[in-house]
Symmetry: T
């Protein structure tokens, strides 16, 4: 019987949350097979020296684990 | 005295959350009059065969009910 | 010892949440120095006469307070 | 077998939360039969031009649905 | 574009939560088409005269709305 | 060293939440000494045969316990 | 005026949550009169030496207190 | 572009929550212009020497900030 | 010093939540040693073509990690 | 079958949260047998006349009840 | 009538949460009169280059505002 | 593009939460590179035979993942 595992990741981008999410999806797909859902849990912006440094999206990633 | 009713909908798009939200608003406006607020409650992405299938926005829709 | 203070703001835009967030950041930077983080807490849309009136983003803003 | 359905309403009054709740109950009873519970979820006041405009009570209404 | 709607129901049974959930599913399917998910939100037991009267399951039901 | 204990009660009244709260306070004071705080956690109304049956206030009651 | 009191219990069973809940109800009824509701708050399983040791159900129990 | 700021206040009264809320509104209006919403977050009662000392309402106050 | 790690899994079954939980426990025990607790976080049912497709239990699994 | 009961206490100390927690544990052990867990729910400090008056720890205490 | 205001601060220390909290209290007392309560909301540690950089305590500070 | 991963651990000590947290940090640093934050989620004490057995701190650990 397959099972679903859920992990949490934070995607980042210097430009926008859209790009941060795209980076998160790209990274997740390079290391995980069988992803079924990515759910946003938090969005924030970090600033350094009064300038936006990075957009961040924290998300939970669900994927099927098939034991061979 | 008018009253406000609140329902929950999920808007979907194969392309982005922005479009998912626009679809949700369009659909809500075609069946409901007097909408005053649409508040986001959850955003996620569903994947099929390791590809993004659909962007989803779950939102609560408030609208005035006028009984005649 | 410096300390961090956290306040809550709502940014608005007639066009999109992206622009609402940009307005929030711009306004926050004009009155506050040393901002380190802006975290989204709520996103909604207000409608008037069955049309979208304003996109709103509620966020918490953290900034360092340096007493001289 | 009967089933219970739960919906959310906002009652309003220019004078008080008590009256807002009474309006909510009156309206709910005119359109629904078999209400068993009304539970408060949120209370707020809206102001316009620096004056109280409306007291609001958001509540969930449970009622039995009897299919004939 | 189809849209998903979410409503809340309470299923009941004098015997068990399993049966309460089965009643909820049966009832939901008789009035709704296109159900995609039923998520449990609360489980409780009501007692009358020191005996178990009814097992209750509160759940949210998601279903696709197709406008013709 | 004295310690504070916290218990939960529901006060009821056929007429209003104000009276339900007053009943809760009166009852709590008849069995407990040293109450320091009563905090509201939930307010609802129960209906029977389409009429309001009882107003209910659920609250947590904190009181000092002095062991002799 | 009667009042309702709410306490929290954890029922246990080596076999199932159903049995854990039955044990909780049985125990509660042996020491309390006038129980009106038992609401589930948490369900878990404890393991010892890689075997299931006990199924646990944490629930809140509401009961009427009649002072004579 | 104007922005909305949100602060938290606690209003108090020796007599009732209604009066505590009225005091909170009065005080808020004397120091803030452009208030749009006051939302209740918590209601409690403090007791001293087994008597009710003060009714308290904690609320969040939203107001428009217009920079000149 | 040993440490405890917590991960999240979703167990599934076409027949019941009981079986979904049993599948989750079985799978977890085949890949992890030293499990101490499995706590339920969410239960739902997914439907396809108006039929129940799968019962799902989402749970957090705690287990001791012994570094050699 | 033994059952577990959960109560809430607040421990206090004029010096630190550590001492407040130690006081809570000491007090709990003098009146309860079979305590299995004490879980922190809230930590705060109360001040009087601009000085720290008391450190407080609110915690839930679980203990086994053995009926004879 | 005096009113209570609540703000949020983060205290920091390179050594411990105890010291972070002490810094927070010291700073708060230098700019605010009439503080009545400081409640912890979050505790974390930030690391840089695999070393602990700063202990942080986020807390809400309540203080009386006396208008002259 | 680097990504941040978040996992949950429980640190333990027979003596104090401070030591439990230190154990957690030490263990995390021995298996993970690039830790940026450790945030407390829960603190409790477990007792055996009416004595404190272990202090526990549950925390989420964020660390950068660099794919080569």
């Amino acid at each position: 019987m397959p099972i679903v595992k859920i992990i949490e990741l934070i995607g980042e981008s210097p430009n926008s949350w859209d790009e941060a999410m795209k980076n998160l999806i790209t990274e997740a797909q390079q290391t995980l097979r069988g992803i079924t859902r990515i759910g946003v849990r938090e969005m924030d912006v970090r600033l350094v020296d009064d300038r936006v440094d990075v957009y961040r999206v924290r998300a939970e990633v669900s994927f099927r684990v098939i034991r061979s």
